[in-house]
Structures are given as structure tokens and as C-alpha cells.
């Protein structure tokens, strides 16, 4: 039931797609992100609550034209320098920004997963984020007259996540901090999951999310596929790399050297801009 990661990316991720790679600190699908870059995808709209290093890398490589996000920092370390360089200096090219709060983007995924066009939340009121009227608006409660925030649903072309386990039928199980992965998968047209390993039977885990095989386009075995993020029960977060990234990413040359050393080709041109 599993396929090689390269095949899954080749088949399901296309230039210009809206792509969500999710995982809240935990289970970030780095290996899949690198495969997307390796295959030269471009003009992607990247969606992710916390861009983290994984999107800092993709943005620096020029893979993305647009970014939808809610918090763009290197957790506990500082800035995402490639993201900042793209926004502040348009390097390697211009990056359009659509930004939410966590509550807003989480609800946008949830609406997408329910195939509703929008979600309602109590948020955003009085903030300048509301000026992004194409993604954040207001609705009035028909019962009380209260005005609430509305966010446009997010429905990625492709969502990619990393999980601990698949079973022989290609059903997937993840546990620990599971973030917004279920909603992101169910909101997508196609979902790819990389897993640590395939087992005969799932263990019991309170808080686990299980995704049946028929909502998934591809399952790929990629051991340690979340590094430098982690998979609870399989690995620990490589906090040193998060610190090291601060140095690598500060400098364009150092970043390009890192990319070259990892076989990740920069996309120099952007025909859209």
C-alpha cells in the first residue's frame, strides 16, 4: 500500500498548487518538503500555521509565490531569516503574504475539512489583520445580532503530513501533539502521508488521530522523515539544528551552500513576477 516518496510527490504535487505541510512543532514533514524542492516545484502557494524552518527553506529556495500562515518564527530561537528576506527584500523573489491568527487559520482548515465556505469565530476584532478582507470578514448571528469574525475556508490542492504509523491497508495513525493535521488532510483534495513504519496492528494511544486509507492519496515510509522536528516515540527534536539554522539562514551564501550540500536546487526565475 505504500509508494516511494518521490513517486508520490511527482504524481500529486504540481507547479502552482496550493500545498499545506502541517505539523505543529511535532511531526513536521521535512523529508517531503525537501523532495518537493528536489523535484523543482515552483510557484506554490504554501499554507502552514507555523512556517518554521521547513518553509524558511522552501521560501529561500524560491519554491513559493505565496504564503498563508499565522506565526512565522523559529520557535524559541528568533526570526525566520529566509522568510524575512523574501518579504523585506524580495529575495529570491516577491512573496505574497496572507496572514491569519492561529485561531483563524485553524478554523479555516476546519471549514475546509467540512467543505463549508467559511468558519465563524470570536476573534480578530479591532486588529489590522481584518484589513485582509479576501480572507477575513464578519458575519452577524441571526439569533442574537452579535457580529463575529468569518474566515474563508482553506482547501489545499495537497496536504502533506508525517505520522508515526501506517497499517498494512494504508490507514495512518499519529499521536502526541497532533496539531491541525486531521483538518488539513480532510480539507485537501489530495493528501500524502510519510510514516515512520508500517505495522500489522495499531497500538492504543490516547489522543491519537487515525485517518482511513480512503482519504489519503499516498502513504510513504520515510523513517525519521520529520528531522529536525521529531516523531514522538521515534525521535527527539534536534534543537541544535534549530539553533544552527539561525546561522545558516542569516546569510544568503551560507544558505545556498547548505542547499547545494543537500541537493536542493534554488528556483531562480519566477515567471509570475
Amino acid at each position: 500500500m505504500t509508494v516511494p516518496l518521490a513517486d508520490a510527490i511527482a504524481e500529486h504535487v504540481h507547479d502552482g498548487d496550493t500545498v499545506a505541510l502541517e505539523g505543529f512543532t511535532h511531526l513536521i514533514p521535512f523529508a517531503a518538503a525537501h523532495e518537493i524542492a528536489r523535484q523543482g516545484r515552483r510557484q506554490l502557494t504554501l499554507v502552514r500555521m507555523t512556517p518554521d524552518l521547513v518553509y524558511d527553506q522552501l521560501i529561500g529556495l524560491g519554491v513559493a509565490d505565496q504564503l498563508v500562515f499565522s506565526y512565522g518564527g523559529n520557535p524559541g530561537v528568533g526570526s525566520l531569516h529566509r522568510l524575512r528576506d523574501a518579504v523585506e527584500n524580495h529575495w529570491p523573489h516577491r512573496l505574497a503574504i496572507h496572514e491569519h491568527s492561529h485561531a483563524g487559520l485553524a478554523n479555516a482548515y476546519s471549514a475546509g475539512a467540512a467543505r463549508l465556505p467559511f468558519a465563524v469565530l470570536r476573534g480578530y476584532r479591532g486588529t489590522d489583520l481584518e484589513e485582509q478582507r479576501d480572507i477575513i470578514s464578519r458575519v452577524t448571528c441571526p439569533f442574537t445580532g452579535e457580529e463575529l469574525a468569518a474566515v474563508r475556508a482553506v482547501n489545499p490542492d495537497v496536504t502533506v503530513i508525517h505520522a508515526q504509523l501506517a497499517d498494512r491497508d494504508g490507514n495512518v495513525m499519529l499521536w502526541g501533539i497532533t496539531g491541525v493535521q486531521r483538518e488539513a488532510v480532510l480539507a485537501a483534495k489530495r493528501a500524502i502521508v510519510t510514516v515512520e513504519e508500517v505495522v500489522d496492528e495499531f497500538p492504543e494511544h490516547t489522543g491519537a488521530v487515525i485517518l482511513p486509507n480512503w482519504v489519503l492519496a499516498a502513504v510513504c515510509v520515510v523513517s525519521n522523515g520529520a528531522w529536525p522536528s521529531y516523531a514522538a516515540g521515534y525521535s527527539v527534536r534536534d534543537n541544535d539544528f534549530y539553533l544552527e539554522w539561525d546561522k545558516i539562514s542569516r546569510d544568503r551564501e551560507a544558505f545556498l551552500e547548505w542547499a547545494a550540500a543537500n541537493g536542493l536546487p534554488p528556483q531562480k526565475e519566477n515567471s509570475h513576477v
Partner: protein, 335 residues
């Protein structure tokens, strides 16, 4: 007389409509029997979803309620009821939904709420349950109901679930997220003695009896001007085959909120009715063995439309009857 009755025939006919890989929302009563019969005969990989939250349940015995522990214990996943209705039923992830009816009209609209007025009914029925959203969002709906003039009525006392609407023209279909993987086993679809029947063309298609011309194959995807967030709800998830077909009224965000093809099949103790491709009026297209058109007309509270060429439903096979009895006796599949 044979060793089966009209109730058996209804359950068997309904079971035959399920195919391997179908995601089937199962309620109590005949649907429960039909779906588990399909799993024990020609469609072992039919995926049973119960509105109690059990996804891909594989009950070892016929469950007596939709909340039996056997469903939770054998399901791939158990989700909350809000999640079931928002992320699974409402999102259009159900291929086949079964409904019952206390009253049904010629356009497949259903009443399960009251006889008489809602404020002061002569008979209080159980109510809606999951039916309105299943009726709207399931890829196709199969109604299982005994045919009688009291049930097949000219005018419903209350519309609980919408079929094709009061005039047969109100239903609009929407894109729905289709599964992205194919059924997991290689068994041919429609392996039962009748095949999958006329509504079962393709694993996810609504079939030629749907509300209008169906788009076939892979629906165009890509962002259709909905801004940076992807294609937006009108094209959301329109990946698989078939169900995206818009019907003669066209699809789009101003539609009536329905996603699926509607009640493509009504299975009764007299035979099978299907909506007319032009008007959506329920039309008797098949009769059970030993039933005449005249019988069916007498059991219908309106001037029943009958297909020009009417087929006979093949009677239950020995295999089907044995499986049915085993289920009714609550034997396990291995017994």
C-alpha cells in the same frame, strides 16, 4: 411460495446495490441488515460508517443499535458525532446513504417527523436523526420502504429530508471530496448476482439515473479565481470521478446545499423505483418476482409512473438467504 418474503427481498435488493469500496452510512433497521449482508456476500470491503462515529466498522455480528460496542471495537477510527456530521457526512465523504420513510412523495422527499401538524400531531414519529444531511450530501441515496398508499403519498405532512424537492426540480448538486485511493482489493465491483444495478456505474459515480448529464472522469481542478487559499468551496475536493456531475440545474455556491445525486433508488416490497431522468419523478423500473404492475399501483398514493420496459428483480440466491439468516440469528461471520 418460496422460502423468502418481501422483507428478505428488500434487504437483498438493497445489499446488491453496495459495491466493494463504497463508503456506506448505515442506520438502524433494514439498512443495517442490507449493508452487513453486502459485506458478507459480494462486497466484503464495503466500508460501513455509523453516525455514532464508527468509521470502517467491521461488526462481527449484526449490531442491534448503531452504538454497539462491537462497532467501536472493530472500527478503524471512532470520531465524535459533531465530527462525523461536519467532516464526514456534511463534507460529502459518504458514497451511499440509506434512508427509511414514514411517508415519501413522488419526488423522493421524505417525512419521518409527524403525521398531522407539527404543533399538534396525530402521530409523533422519531424525527430527523441524520437523515436530512445524509439525503443532501451522500453521493447517492437508497430509500428502503414498504409500499402502501399511507406511505407513498401525494402530499407529505412534513418534509424531513429532501429528495428532488417539492416539484422535482429543486435539487442542485455540488462538488464533494471523493476518496483519492481506489478500493483496496481487486475483487470486481458488482460481484453480486445482479451486478451493482443501474445506479452503480463506477465506484463513485452517481450513475445514469442521476439528475442530468454527469461529467465523467477527472474533473478539472485548479484554482478558479478564489484567491490565495485554493479553489474555494465550489471546486473543493472535486478530484475523483463522477460525483461532481452538476445535474441539469447546474452546480455552484448558490445551489440548494445538496451535494449528492439524491434518492437514485427506492427499494420497496414490490420492487424498485428510480427517478425519471427528465422529471425526477419516481418510476417503477423493476418488480420483485410475483408482483404485478397493478399491485404496485394499488400500493401507491399517486398515479404511479411505470417504466416502458420493466425488469424482474432476481430472487434471493441461496447464498444471500443463508447470509441473511445468519445475520438475523446474530451469528458471527465465521460461525
Amino acid at each position: 411460495m418460496s422460502d423468502w418474503d418481501s422483507a428478505d427481498m428488500m434487504n437483498v435488493a438493497a445489499a446488491r446495490e453496495l459495491k466493494n469500496g463504497d463508503v456506506c452510512l448505515v442506520g438502524v433497521g433494514p439498512p443495517n441488515l442490507a449493508a452487513n449482508l453486502a459485506r458478507r456476500t459480494h462486497a466484503p470491503n464495503c466500508r460501513l460508517v455509523y453516525e455514532s462515529g464508527a468509521i470502517d466498522a467491521k461488526p462481527r455480528r449484526l449490531p442491534l443499535s448503531i452504538g454497539d460496542d462491537d462497532l467501536a471495537a472493530t472500527a478503524i477510527a471512532v470520531v465524535s458525532v459533531p465530527e462525523m456530521f461536519n467532516f464526514w457526512v456534511g463534507a460529502g465523504r459518504i458514497d451511499v446513504g440509506f434512508l427509511g420513510a414514514a411517508q415519501i412523495d413522488r419526488f423522493g422527499n421524505i417525512n419521518t417527523t409527524v403525521i398531522g401538524s407539527h404543533a399538534d400531531p396525530t402521530t409523533r414519529l422519531p424525527g430527523a436523526g441524520g437523515a436530512p444531511e445524509i439525503a443532501a450530501a451522500a453521493g447517492r441515496v437508497i430509500v428502503i420502504v414498504k409500499q402502501s398508499p399511507r406511505t407513498f403519498v401525494e402530499q407529505l405532512d412534513f418534509i424531513t429530508s429532501v429528495g428532488y424537492g417539492p416539484t422535482g426540480r429543486e435539487r442542485r448538486t455540488r462538488s464533494a471530496p471523493d476518496r483519492t485511493t481506489e478500493p483496496t482489493d481487486a475483487e470486481p465491483t458488482g460481484a453480486g448476482p445482479m451486478g451493482a444495478g443501474p445506479t452503480g456505474v463506477g465506484a463513485t459515480g452517481a450513475g445514469p439515473t442521476g439528475a442530468g448529464p454527469m461529467s465523467a472522469g477527472r474533473t478539472a481542478v485548479g484554482s478558479t479565481g478564489a484567491g490565495p487559499m485554493g479553489a474555494g468551496p465550489t471546486a473543493a475536493g472535486a478530484m475523483g470521478a463522477g460525483r461532481t456531475g452538476a445535474g441539469s440545474m447546474g452546480a455552484g455556491p448558490t445551489g440548494a446545499g445538496a451535494m449528492g445525486a439524491g434518492p437514485t433508488l427506492v427499494i420497496t416490497d414490490f420492487g424498485v423505483l428510480e427517478p425519471d431522468p427528465g422529471t425526477n419523478e419516481l418510476t417503477m423500473t423493476r418488480l420483485h418476482q410475483g408482483v404485478t404492475v397493478e399491485d404496485a399501483r394499488k400500493a401507491t398514493g399517486w398515479d404511479l409512473k411505470v417504466a416502458e420496459s420493466i425488469e424482474e428483480v432476481p430472487p434471493p440466491t441461496a447464498t444471500e438467504l443463508a447470509a441473511l439468516r445468519s445475520l438475523r440469528n446474530r451469528e458471527t461471520a465465521d460461525a
